[in-house]
């Protein structure tokens, strides 16, 4: 049987859906199976070394073990994660299995002994198999319970690049349904009824956008996936593509069909090597299966799907900039109107959707709009991938049901002690803002910017947790620096605005060059200027980058104004991050050379011999203040 025959049997011969248990792999094999949860984050953690050591172990011990390469479950603090299924026993998940631990751990497990507790992550219970002691139930882990895995499986136990495995999970059945039973207009209606909103940050109704493109009769049309994702702090797009490239392809084929486009293009950031590799293989198999190309399975529909690698610029995440880049130009946003659904790529109707948005499409088609609305809350149906990082104990990529409160998320990703020391959460990346602990009860929902009900604008889902060792001014500076470098530079409010905002923040977080009244006045004016510029940037910038860049500062000032003022008036940075605020030096008139400060200095920054005046070497000084506290002679000056 050719792949096309298999495809036909699975998808078109009958429309029955398979009874699938998403969580337990149906592997009734009589040899042990090792699951290598391999994606970029686990590669960085060292999973390739782990895998080669497992292979070494297999060779040296001459045993028969099958290794399945799959994709990571998004719980990055546990990387590298390895799954082991011994015949007759449940699947167990081992965490932090570095290469040098492999031999001893495998010796234990293959002999049915428990390895050290530090490796025990969880097991997947199944009545068919004997469970292990000590390994907790995977679904009882708080990091798993907080999630609602709709577009991603909680744990993936098959290869991301096996189309037949994807079929077995009812993959491409949505596309088959669309091809055989629905008109493009009907497909648009289903998506419209689902009230699915864009997951890339815009939050527009996907169905509405599609409908506009469908109604435009200017051909050829284009359906584009925005997988540029240069948001620092959000890796949702990458995880999605690495884990389930076929789902993206299916979503794109459905979307292209829905707007009568014949070409589907995936614009992926060039640096996502693994994602591109898996996506390319998946596209090849899709083609061999006959699901893309001309006259698909005799339907008369032509759909081609290709990858374009983006040469990397954050602003290309904006749809008109992305289209410019595809056309071979600089990725500079264009004024809207005209909207891409009217005049997009090569002046033809174009739809640009985010990766995560497209991932929602196949199940909406398969199970219906009402089924989609069972998750989430009114005006914010479905789930959203949040990339949680920073001062958390369990960083990773979490699929959270919209309507979940920030507080609930935090208790799942932090241990109790850490939760209490959280200073703020920054959500939404460079286009987002701070949330104060007083507002942690707020729910993660879409924010209609016209009727601002809360300050949450989660953008692409970057979720960064800060504690007392982080400085709000410094974080603002960080995001502004990003904006300054990534601004396309076309319009004045954004290009010059981000630069001046950064300069002002820099001035606030550093010691002034002189103590002149003029300098002081400039610093004091800093906050008002920040607010003045922020407003005009929001009102007049050409695209979202400039319009949203000031939100970080605005929310920072709203909730942490005292921290800004401390920096300005008292030249103090509580978190100890803005070290350049102060200069420590020694007054030679007062110094008697007792040497106490030298002993207390952790950076070896003070030099001087006994009974002579000492001297602080500025390059080495870390501004900890120990010398000031130690000196009994008032010889240390802080300016």
């Amino acid at each position: 049987m050719t792949l096309k025959d298999i495809t036909y049997n699975y998808l078109f011969k009958s429309t029955e859906l398979f009874e699938i248990n998403n969580f337990t792999p149906d592997l009734n094999i009589d040899i042990p199976v090792v699951f290598a949860f391999r994606s970029t984050c686990s590669i960085i953690a060292g999973i390739d070394d782990t895998i080669s050591y497992i292979e070494k172990y297999i060779n040296e011990n001459s045993i028969n073990i099958k290794i399945v390469e799959t994709s990571c479950p998004g719980l990055c603090s546990f990387d590298p994660v390895i799954g082991v299924k011994i015949p007759g026993r449940t699947l167990i998940l081992l965490k932090n299995l570095y290469y040098y631990e492999v031999f001893s751990v495998f010796d234990s497990i293959l002999n049915h002994f428990l390895p050290d507790t530090k490796f025990l992550l969880a097991q997947i219970y199944d009545q068919k198999y004997n469970s292990w002691p000590e390994f907790p139930d995977f679904f009882s882990l708080k990091q798993v319970k907080i999630q609602k895995r709709n577009i991603l499986e909680p744990i993936k136990t098959y290869s991301p690049i096996s189309i037949t495995d994807y079929f077995a999970k009812n993959g491409f059945k949505g596309f088959a349904k669309v091809l055989t039973k629905l008109t493009p207009s009907e497909v648009c209606s289903i998506i419209e009824n689902s009230e699915l909103k864009g997951r890339g940050g815009g939050g527009f109704f996907t169905g509405k956008k599609w409908r506009k493109a469908l109604e435009n009769n200017n051909n050829p049309k284009y359906f584009i996936c925005n997988a540029d994702e240069s948001d620092p702090g959000s890796v949702a797009g990458r995880i999605l593509i690495e884990t389930d490239p076929f789902k993206l392809i299916e979503g794109m084929l459905i979307g292209a069909y829905a707007i009568n486009a014949s070409k589907a293009i995936i614009y992926v950031r060039n640096t996502y090597k693994l994602a591109i590799e898996r996506l390319k293989k998946a596209i090849e198999q899709t083609k061999s299966a006959g699901l893309s190309g001309d006259d698909i399975f005799g339907s008369g529909i032509n759909l081609s799907i290709e990858i374009v690698t983006g040469p990397v610029a954050y602003v290309c995440g904006e749809e008109t900039a992305l289209i410019s880049s595809l056309e071979g130009s600089r990725g500079m946003p264009k004024p809207k109107p005209p909207y891409p659904s009217d005049k997009g790529f090569l002046e033809k109707p174009t739809i640009v959707n985010n990766v995560e948005t497209i991932f929602n499409i196949p199940s909406i088609i398969l199970y219906g709009a009402e089924s989609f609305k069972q998750t989430g809350i009114k005006e914010s149906f479905g789930t959203k991938l949040f990339t949680i990082s920073g001062k958390v104990d369990y960083p990773g990529v979490y699929e959270i049901e919209l309507g979940t409160s920030i507080a609930d998320v935090l208790s799942a990703v932090c241990d109790d002690e850490s939760v209490n020391s959280i200073k703020a959460v920054h959500i939404g990346g460079p286009s987002g803002g701070f949330i104060h602990p007083d507002k942690f009860y707020e729910k993660l929902v879409f924010n209609d910017s016209k009727n601002k009900s809360n300050d949450i604008w989660f953008g692409a889902g970057s979720f960064v947790v800060l504690n007392k060792s982080n400085c709000i001014v410094d974080v603002c500076k960080y995001f502004l620096d990003f904006d300054v470098n990534e601004s396309c530079g076309k319009c004045i409010p954004c290009r010059e605005g981000t630069r001046v905002l950064y300069d002002i923040l820099k001035r606030i977080s550093e010691r002034p060059p002189t103590n002149s009244k003029h300098e002081t006045l400039q610093r004091f004016k800093g906050v008002t200027q920040l607010e003045e510029i922020a407003v005009v940037m929001q009102e007049t910038s050409l695209c979202g980058l400039g319009q949203n860049a000031p939100i970080t500062i605005i929310t920072g000032l709203k909730y942490f104004r005292d921290e800004f003022e401390e920096h300005i008036y008292e030249k103090k940075c509580d978190a100890g991050v803005c070290r350049d605020l102060k200069l420590y030096n020694i007054n030679i008139d007062n110094c008697v050379g007792c040497g106490l400060c030298v002993k207390r200095c952790p950076a070896d920054a003070i030099i001087g011999s006994l009974h002579t005046a000492h001297f602080i070497v500025q390059e080495r000084c870390i501004k900890c203040g120990n010398c000031f506290k130690a000196c009994k002679f008032n010889a240390v000056n802080i300016i």
Partner: protein
């Protein structure tokens, strides 16, 4: 360069520009003046414009890079878990800023906003090798190894 250009069809569509530049750089390491002028004739875009378009994107280089490309992560997680000091530290130790190559041609610094190892920050990548949870001392060791 000749054979690369000869493999291209006689007239190339403008939408292919970035892909061609990427392919050339993947093969030869950077975009040089001669290549841009020759490509200009085939694709019908002026050399000055090709240069302007390519320079917009972070990926393209116009000078050969060093033997070792050091990527320091300038992503938010690495910054929050303190890697900004690493960037300053690296500059202090090598004198290099983002995009610069050392005079002995060994090291090029390229900052990347988010390498993808947020749980193991700070992350440093040298050519194809990753280093995780890097401290200032680790960084010093890495640089010494490279020299």
């Amino acid at each position: 360069m000749e054979e690369f250009l000869n493999k291209l069809p006689t007239s190339v569509s403008k939408t292919e520009l970035l892909r061609i530049l990427q392919e050339f750089q993947d093969k030869y390491g950077y975009l040089d003046n001669d290549f841009i002028h020759e490509l200009s004739k085939k694709i019908g875009i002026q050399p000055g414009k090709i240069f302007g378009i390519a320079s917009f994107y972070s990926q393209f280089r116009f000078k050969p890079s060093g033997k070792y490309i050091v990527n320091l992560c300038s992503g938010v997680a690495c910054h929050i878990n303190s890697s900004e000091n690493l960037i300053n530290e690296f500059t202090k130790l090598t004198g290099l800023k983002d995009g610069e190559t050392s005079t002995d041609g060994k090291i090029t610094l390229e900052l990347v906003p988010c390498l993808g190892g947020c749980a193991n920050s700070p992350v440093v990548k040298v050519n194809d090798k990753y280093y995780i949870k890097v401290t200032k001392t680790d960084l010093l060791k890495i640089i010494q190894e490279l020299k």
